[in-house]
């Protein structure tokens, strides 16, 4: 057995587990028929789509499975960021002096899932809005822009989130 | 106290939905209308959950769960449609 085969089987098992947990959450019963039906349905779906859900070039398990302790820290940080930037945007609505600008910068994160989470969490906070994500290149609309330099703007927007996310996923 | 908070939430959400509907009708371009619809879908989700908690009925929460997951597929369809049509709405 070569490494590619083992990695494919591992991805298949992870996809099946993910689908089965979602099934358990939605049905919320422990009847035998429901469990067996859900298991077979998730096996079939995983067999058809595991190469789309987890692509081949995700190098290791570290790229896919998050560290549970740092995940909670990350979620708490997101909630704090949400209220902080909401307050800034609310202040901008009353005073009226906004400086909207489109900045673009790169991220240091390696896995696809971590990049998606980064762009989604940039969009989640009011005041910053991800327009496009190519490989590691983000295009962001920033309502309260304070610098002209792109790299400094990127550090200001993402550094807080990226540092925490790097400990959660690789 | 609990009843006061729940009914207050209800009235606030209805007022927000009404104001957003005015924006949806006024909006000069298609983008403004889409922004208003985006806000409106979140308010509808909150109203569904609020009604489920008020009447202590689990069924509304299941409906809200499915609405939350498949809600943005409508936006995908609308944006694809608008991108292909030449005339502005």
């Amino acid at each position: 057995m070569n490494y590619e085969r083992i990695w494919a089987i591992l991805r298949f098992i992870l996809t099946t587990l993910f689908l089965f947990i979602i099934w358990l959450l939605f049905t919320a019963t422990t009847e035998t028929f429901t469990l067996i039906f859900g298991l077979f349905a998730s096996l079939l779906t995983a067999g058809l789509t595991y190469h789309i859900f987890l692509p081949k070039h995700q190098a290791s398990l570290n790229f896919i499975l998050p560290n549970p302790f740092y995940l909670i820290v990350f979620l708490a940080l997101m909630v704090i960021n949400l209220y902080k930037s909401s307050f800034q945007v609310a202040k901008a609505v009353f005073t009226g002096n906004t400086n909207p600008r489109i900045v673009h910068f790169r991220t240091r994160l390696k896995s696809d899932i971590a990049r998606t989470i980064l762009s989604n969490s940039i969009t989640f906070t009011p005041g910053t809005l991800t327009l496009d994500l190519n490989d590691d290149h983000l295009v962001v609309h920033w309502l309260l822009c304070s610098t002209i330099h792109n790299k400094a703007a990127g550090e200001k927007i993402k550094s807080n989130i990226e540092k925490s996310l790097k400990r959660t996923l690789k | 106290m609990t009843n006061f908070i729940l009914s207050g939430m209800k009235y606030f959400l209805i007022v927000f939905a009404t104001i957003t509907t005015i924006r949806l009708l006024l909006g000069p371009s298609a983008s403004d209308r889409l922004v208003a619809m985006n806000v409106l879908s979140s308010i509808a989700l909150a109203l569904l959950i609020l009604w489920g908690v008020t009447t202590k009925n689990v069924l509304y929460l299941d409906v809200a769960l499915v609405y939350d997951i498949f809600g943005f597929l409508g936006f995908l369809a609308i944006t694809r449609f608008l991108k292909n049509t030449k005339d502005k709405l």
Binding site: N120, T123 | V39, S41, S42, I49, L65, K83
Partner: protein, 109 residues
């Protein structure tokens, strides 16, 4: 019993205040990007605060567990929806002038 209701009341007041400000911003800003920022103030912050208040006030364990799952899915679906809208504005013809002026500014895009 009393502490729960006070915490829920605090979240309710915070959410309502941000919602009113977002509604003002929805009419005050002129371009669609800024309107989307003001809209996300109401569509995300208000709804998130209300969800936490409802989580504290929920009467039974079945409702509590569903609201926890709903909050997790809301964290995923809310940015996805507004990302679809923002991508539409970025690719539509109304933002074409803005993008052209930006390309003039820095050549790398």
């Amino acid at each position: 019993m009393m502490i729960k209701e006070v915490v829920a009341l605090i979240f309710f007041i915070i959410g309502s205040a941000f919602g009113i400000v977002g509604m003002i911003g929805l009419f005050r800003f002129k371009d669609p990007y800024s309107r989307l920022h003001a809209g996300s103030l109401c569509g995300t912050t208000t709804v998130f605060s209300y969800l936490i208040a409802l989580l504290i006030l929920s009467p039974s364990i079945a409702i509590t567990s569903r609201i926890v799952i709903l909050i997790i899915f809301f964290l995923i679906s809310a940015p996805t929806g507004s990302s679809i809208v923002s991508k539409f504005i970025w690719e539509s013809e109304e933002a074409e002038d803005q993008r052209r002026s930006m390309q003039k500014e820095d050549k790398s895009l």
